[in-house]
Symmetry: C2
């Protein structure tokens, strides 16, 4: 993905986790010698080699900060990335956002077909929960069950899917800043928060520290989305690897349309600083989280 | 649904479970006072008041036979029914089977729209796993984790979704009886088997009895699909509540096209008898399972 980052620690962290997540899915999804082959090829196309892997990095970093093994954290990280990948596949469908490009290559329904795209999304969705019930994630069934609960709630109608529903009516309804914030907390924020929470569950993080991590997650979630709106408005399609300028074309209320680009950028940076402030009880081991909070608002992809 | 069944015990059992599953989803899915309302209304449209509830009945009957509480079994039954409902919503989409009618009313994408149908399916999918992690299902997290694993595997690329993929190429590939059997074991059989297995997990059924119940599930799964093929070929659209004669129109290999209707009916009945044979170690408490094995091959809907 050729990330060029000022923050070398974060850059190395993202590259390492990209390799590990890719290797895990390569092993998890062998192409079978039967009529299911196109489905598994489609799942591999969508999940291997694409995406920044922000959610896996969040999950693994928090889990490792509190002593969980990297191997078990990577497994759980694959689950949340499978949910993220399925949501992109379905969001890109002609009946949804109708996008042709994702991660710099044709969207899944363009590379395969719509029916396979629906089905590959559904299969990655189920795979996410299958992965979380493996002993490799944790020998403790309570932890496995809590991880499933956290991911299911964050991705369903009270989380990501609910936010997507709000987004679908955002061009018809007069959304104010409060509504847009709520929309984005569900659509993007819920899954980013789940990544941090799942890391905390795996690391058995004590309640006080967990509260700080939740605040960090909430702030970077919002900063992430404001940056996304700015990117949609000002970004380079080549670097972003997807079509931009869609919100404006559709007349959707966004942070940028409601606040203006200057104010939005200021707000994103303030949230990023505030997120870093929630890590005050952590030392160098949280430097990746600090780097990520900065990267999220400065990224061009 | 006005089921008229020779077997009163089964009829009462199905009606009771229909009421209980409907009531549970009515409580689980209140319509929120925000822009997510159409999504939750769509979920309710798809999951409340439709369907025979065969999978819930299987799960609850097996669980109760071995002493699990009805309340916890109903909760788990709602999870498997949510998976079943999501799969019907996505299968009915224009890019999949393109069906206009389901359970005697317009399919979800006809009653709402395609985007909401994709999203309502996804939301029911996530809800299924959320439901299974509730303490109401079981206070034992190991049981909750096993239920999630069973349902996730049965519904993903090595189960139902894999079978659907095989079905999508069934009109292009020369399928023999072995391939059609494999296809149906995944597409329909896996979830029916999961219903029995989840009941067995809740009831902590000992290994030997679980083996017999698995054989029962395998046989009724296959009998169910042969009967479905016969129904598609010979049934009444009004009673079935959906369009029929689709397999033949699409030139798909089915049990009926490969064996002929006479032989197929014989085979379905033989499997039904065989399924009942696997219940020999059970007494009257398994009468609903016996009735279901008979109903499955004689149903006209």
């Amino acid at each position: 993905m050729g990330l060029v980052l000022a923050d070398d620690l974060l850059g190395r962290g993202l590259q390492r986790i990209q390799r590990e997540v890719d290797a895990a899915f390569d092993a998890i999804l062998p192409v079978p010698d039967d009529a299911r082959a196109p489905l598994i090829e489609a799942m591999r196309y969508a999940i291997i080699g694409g995406g920044k892997r922000v959610r896996p990095l969040l999950l693994v970093t928090v889990a490792e900060m509190y002593g969980a093994s990297r191997q078990s954290a990577i497994r759980a990280a694959c689950a949340i990335e499978a949910i993220h990948a399925y949501s992109l596949i379905h969001d890109d469908l002609p009946c949804m956002d109708d996008d042709d490009k994702r991660h710099g290559k044709p969207t899944l329904h363009k590379a395969f077909d719509e029916a396979i795209a629906v089905l590959a999304g559904d299969s990655l969705h189920a795979l996410a929960f299958e992965l979380l019930t493996s002993r490799e994630v944790s020998p403790d069934p309570f932890i496995r069950s809590e991880l499933v609960a956290t991911l299911a709630i964050a991705s369903g109608h009270n989380g990501m899917a609910g936010g997507q529903m709000m987004d679908m009516v955002a061009d018809q309804v007069d959304f104010d800043l409060h509504s847009v914030t709520r929309l984005q907390q569900l659509k993007t924020g819920a899954l980013l928060a789940a990544a941090v929470e799942m890391g905390a569950i795996l690391g058995k993080v004590p309640e006080e520290a967990r509260g700080h991590l939740r605040n960090y997650a909430r702030d970077i979630g919002l900063a992430f989305q404001i940056a996304d709106d700015l990117l949609d408005c000002e970004g380079d399609e080549e670097k972003a690897g997807k079509a931009l300028r869609k919100d404006e074309d559709q007349g959707k209320a966004t942070f940028v349309s409601l606040m203006g680009p200057e104010k939005a950028r200021e707000q994103a940076r303030a949230l990023s600083e505030q997120a870093i402030g929630h890590l005050v009880m952590h030392g160098k081991e949280a430097d990746i989280l600090r780097g990520l909070a900065k990267f999220i608002v400065e990224r061009d992809m």
